[in-house]
């Protein structure tokens, strides 16, 4: 497809170039002095490692697997998020267990392993939408870097502890609810 270049008719002042150039220089020097006389906190740029930026409320960052007050995971391993995920980055291994607890009610499934490949994730928030238990949230954490690819595979415990420090929750590495597999044959 041919691109139509619009011809701009310049008047004789503009065709001398001198006055437009001076105008442009006035604009740039204005920016220069405005930047110099702005205190560094109020400048446009965020000096990243020193000052961190507060993302907008709707920002979708790192995932968090929500837990109940007693620490047990909300996720019931229904695979809805994995199905909804357009990038196919969620891998869930389900784990059956029988002991009911107060908050979980009658849940009998939970993820044994819940893995998100952050290199594939596109942070679309579909998993959030798909989750019937409100167990997976995308929140404002945007600092994700790793020295290798394996480090970008976030497992169940990484995701459960994502915001632990920020929210004042205890970091956990073990599920507090007992996981006693149902004995075979019993209903």
């Amino acid at each position: 497809m041919a691109v139509v270049v619009k011809k701009v008719e310049l008047n004789w002042v503009d065709r001398t170039y001198v006055i437009p150039v001076l105008k442009g220089m006035a604009i740039t020097i204005g920016h220069f002095f405005r930047q110099i006389f702005t205190p560094s906190r109020k400048r446009f740029t965020v000096q990243y490692p020193d000052w961190k930026r507060e993302p907008a409320p709707g920002f979708r960052g790192l995932h968090e697997l929500k837990r109940f007050e007693d620490g047990s995971i909300k996720c019931v391993a229904c695979f809805m998020c994995a199905e909804a995920c357009p990038a196919r980055c969620i891998t869930i291994e389900a784990d059956e267990f029988g002991d009911l607890n107060r908050l979980q009610g009658f849940a009998e499934k939970r993820p044994k392993n819940f893995q998100i490949d952050m290199l594939r994730c596109i942070y679309c928030g579909m998993c959030e939408e798909a989750c019937p238990k409100d167990a997976i949230w995308l929140r404002s954490d945007y600092e994700q870097a790793s020295y290798d690819r394996l480090g970008m595979l976030f497992g169940k415990w990484d995701l459960m502890n994502t915001y632990a420090d920020k929210d004042g929750k205890a970091r956990i590495t073990q599920d507090p609810t007992p996981s006693v597999p149902r004995a075979p044959g019993k209903a």
Partner: protein, 352 residues
């Protein structure tokens, strides 16, 4: 001065020459080094950014990013010195010096302060004394020699983009040199001499500055200086959007730094040329016979201002297209400077 010469067991003339040599070499170099910082920092400010400020002495004193100069220097010296396989190695090594040395040499003839007499000896504040017979023709000639460095760099690195950059640079040099020389010719004509001392002496008050009398000549000369220093809007030798990085695509480490530094030395020399030819050199506005130190300060101030203008314009204007440059060089600049010359010649003929 004589006491100082005795300390070094030199004749006063010799000692003075050494001092001048050190000043004439160190001053453009130091200014060029600082200009790299000014360029990066100023560019950042113009674009509402902050610029280099991470380098710090002992992780604490950042000095507004000035430490970056030392960091750059250390990095350039310690980097691996790569030479491409099919490069002409001799020329590849030689080219940065061929670009750097002419850039430095241009400053030799420019008086950076008022001449003074002490104990019956006249001391001149320029490396080459006035009356050396070369006058302002010398920096003009040397300035265009620097393009050989760029051409050599581009040719020897055996890279098609580099060669394109070099060819563009030389074509640009050809199309601008004539307009520039004719503009300067008009100054030689009205001044009655091509010695920088004569030119400065003729500009003894602000109204006699050549920028007032030769305004169009100044426009041409100023524009051509951008082409001469390979700066935006005329940096065709290194148009990174079209030809990767132009003539220095294959250069790394200190060789690249030398090419880059020669550009900044060029800016310093070009600014001092502009100041000498059009802004009264070391003359201080509204002061009849300035003291030596004041004259040096005045010259330095003017040069620093024009260095800043070079940077300022670089971050204001986009790069010209090549045919636009050719149009500007041959069809605008050359006729303009010729007309300038003719008008001055006519008025000189009319009123003497």
């Amino acid at each position: 001065m004589e006491h100082f010469a005795q300390l070094l067991h030199l004749s006063p003339a010799m000692a003075w020459m050494v001092v001048k040599l050190i000043i004439a070499f160190a001053a453009p170099l130091v200014l060029a080094a600082v200009l790299t910082w000014v360029e990066r920092r100023g560019a950042a400010m113009i674009q509402d950014r902050i610029g280099p400020n991470r380098a710090a002495i002992l992780g604490r004193w950042r000095l507004l990013g000035l430490v970056q100069l030392a960091a750059d220097g250390i990095k350039f010296f310690l980097k691996e010195d790569l030479v491409t396989r099919d490069a002409n190695k001799t020329l590849f090594w030689l080219a940065p010096f061929m670009a750097f040395v002419p850039a430095m040499m241009g400053f030799a003839v420019i008086p950076f302060g008022r001449s003074f007499v002490e104990n019956g000896t006249a001391y001149h504040l320029s490396l080459l004394d006035p009356g050396n017979g070369m006058g302002m023709l010398y920096p003009m000639a040397i300035g265009s020699v620097a393009v050989y460095g760029i051409l050599t760099a581009s040719w020897s690195s055996n890279n098609k983009w580099s060669i394109l950059g070099g060819m563009r640079s030389s074509a640009q040099m050809v199309s601008y040199e004539i307009g520039m020389s004719v503009a300067v010719l008009a100054i030689f004509m009205t001044t009655g001499g091509y010695d920088p001392h004569q030119i400065i002496a003729a500009q003894d008050s602000v109204l006699h500055w050549n920028v007032v009398r030769h305004f169009f000549g100044f426009l041409v000369f100023f524009t051509c200086m951008f082409a001469e220093t390979n700066r935006l809007p005329f940096d065709f030798a290194e148009g990174e959007s079209e030809i990767v990085a132009g003539f220095h695509t294959e250069y790394g480490s200190m060789k690249f730094a030398l090419l880059q530094l020669s550009e900044y030395v060029h800016i310093v020399v070009a600014s001092s040329l502009i100041v000498t030819l059009y802004f009264g050199g070391w003359q201080v506005p509204f002061v009849k016979d300035p003291a030596v130190l004041l004259s040096v300060l005045s010259f330095a101030g003017k040069v620093v201002f024009f260095c800043w203008v070079f940077i300022w314009i670089r971050w204001t204007l986009p790069r010209f297209r090549f045919d636009q440059l050719m149009f500007l060089g041959w069809k605008v600049m050359l006729p303009l400077s010729l007309a300038n010359l003719l008008v001055h010649a006519y008025f000189m003929h009319r009123w003497g």
